[in-house]
Symmetry: C2
Subunit: 235 residues, 2 copies
């Protein structure tokens, strides 16, 4: 569908918002972007601060979190190679409404606000790609919303494991899928709106039932079919 132009400085990424530009146009983008490295735990931006551009993830994984009045933190989104973050606040709010933190060492391109607005005005393919990303994220968010209302923790956990399996899964030689993402149980818990103890209990259940396996923090999916059943997905 798309004709990916290799992005010189983001080698891993052929699914970014600029992927349909010509090499000449790409060079222009390259001139206006900066590559930053973030170590695990470092923040790209913080809730409440002023946005001044967008971030395009090259490598690594970023969590987008919101903290409430009581200081409790929830992960509302996970981003990785090819994803953009910080665009939402750029186009609407005065301040960031969430915090973005690297959950592992990551490389992230930063693009200045003025330049990205210029590109959007000149290159429809870029706007369309941004609209696409936003639409996809929006779909995921609404899906989570209804799950929180309609499903119990066990079902939501099964669903989360399947989602992570799709987004961060790596097929192993033995045919099973390894979720290539090191989240703490606490972090996973906030993704499905539960307490870490509860999450751990259900992970243990799934282990006992041989649906999944754990090697350190890493989770391996043993039985995707059964997990799909338990996730109780709409038709």
């Amino acid at each position: 569908m798309k004709t990916p132009t290799k992005c010189e400085k983001c080698p891993s990424n052929s699914s970014g918002i600029f992927c349909e530009l010509s090499s000449l146009e790409h060079e222009d983008v390259d001139k206006h972007k900066v590559i930053n490295k973030y170590k695990k735990g470092q923040t790209l931006f913080v809730q409440g601060n002023h946005p001044f551009g967008i971030f395009c993830i090259s490598t690594g994984n970023i969590k987008v979190t919101k903290v409430g009045a009581d200081g409790k933190e929830s992960i509302v989104r996970l981003c990785h190679g090819g994803d953009i973050i910080g665009h939402r606040s750029l186009f609407t709010e005065e301040h960031y409404t969430a915090t973005a933190t690297a959950i592992e060492d990551s490389e992230v391109c930063f693009i200045d606000k003025n330049f990205i607005l210029k590109v959007i005005n000149e290159k429809p393919s870029v706007s369309l790609n941004i609209i696409n990303k936003l639409s996809t994220d929006m779909g995921k968010a609404e899906s989570k919303l209804s799950s929180l209302h309609q499903k119990n923790v066990r079902e939501r956990l099964a669903e989360l494991l399947l989602v992570l399996s799709t987004s961060h899964g790596k097929k192993q030689e033995d045919g099973r899928t390894k979720i290539d993402l090191k989240l703490t149980r606490e972090e996973m818990a906030t993704m499905i709106g539960t307490a870490n103890e509860t999450l751990i209990r259900f992970i243990s259940e799934f282990k006992d039932e041989k649906l999944i396996e754990q090697v350190g923090k890493t989770i391996i999916i043993n039985n995707e079919e059964k997990l799909t059943e338990w996730a109780n997905l709409p038709y």
Copy 2:
């Protein structure tokens, strides 16, 4: 900020995605759109069906719902004049992932897929407006997600009332704000992920505490400050 061009056929709406086009361009849009009327309860589109264009709401209120495996329905978004719906699935999915239903008699413009894609390619202001709408909706969705995790029902209800007060509130002569939107308690409950009995209980509490008042389905905000306190908003 914007220079609203009056949309002939959507008189109520100066905040739509086409509001920055010239009158000539507007005429072109008008030629390619159809106005449809929907009675309360009628659906614009149904989860699972194929999208073939986008809907721009002229008047009325539309609820966007998702039904789960057990048939339980959750409202994930409310739309009214100036909002667009059905765009998300248009740009990403093969099928609609939600159902849109009129919660009161509404007038909605329909714009063909090919034409809207053409406009996006030619008019950056339109893409930017779509990006804006998506970003705003996305922000709301993520905010709801963290609320569901971090707040109890009473807090979420206070928050919902404040949100509805902003989006659908009408200042009365007596200075109080009337929420101009006829939702059933059941519908309101699904918006904050609770059971209708529970929601009704907390509405009663707020009534007892004179924070709100009810005239039929309509809710009137008596004490916005106290409600804001109870909502326990992040800083």
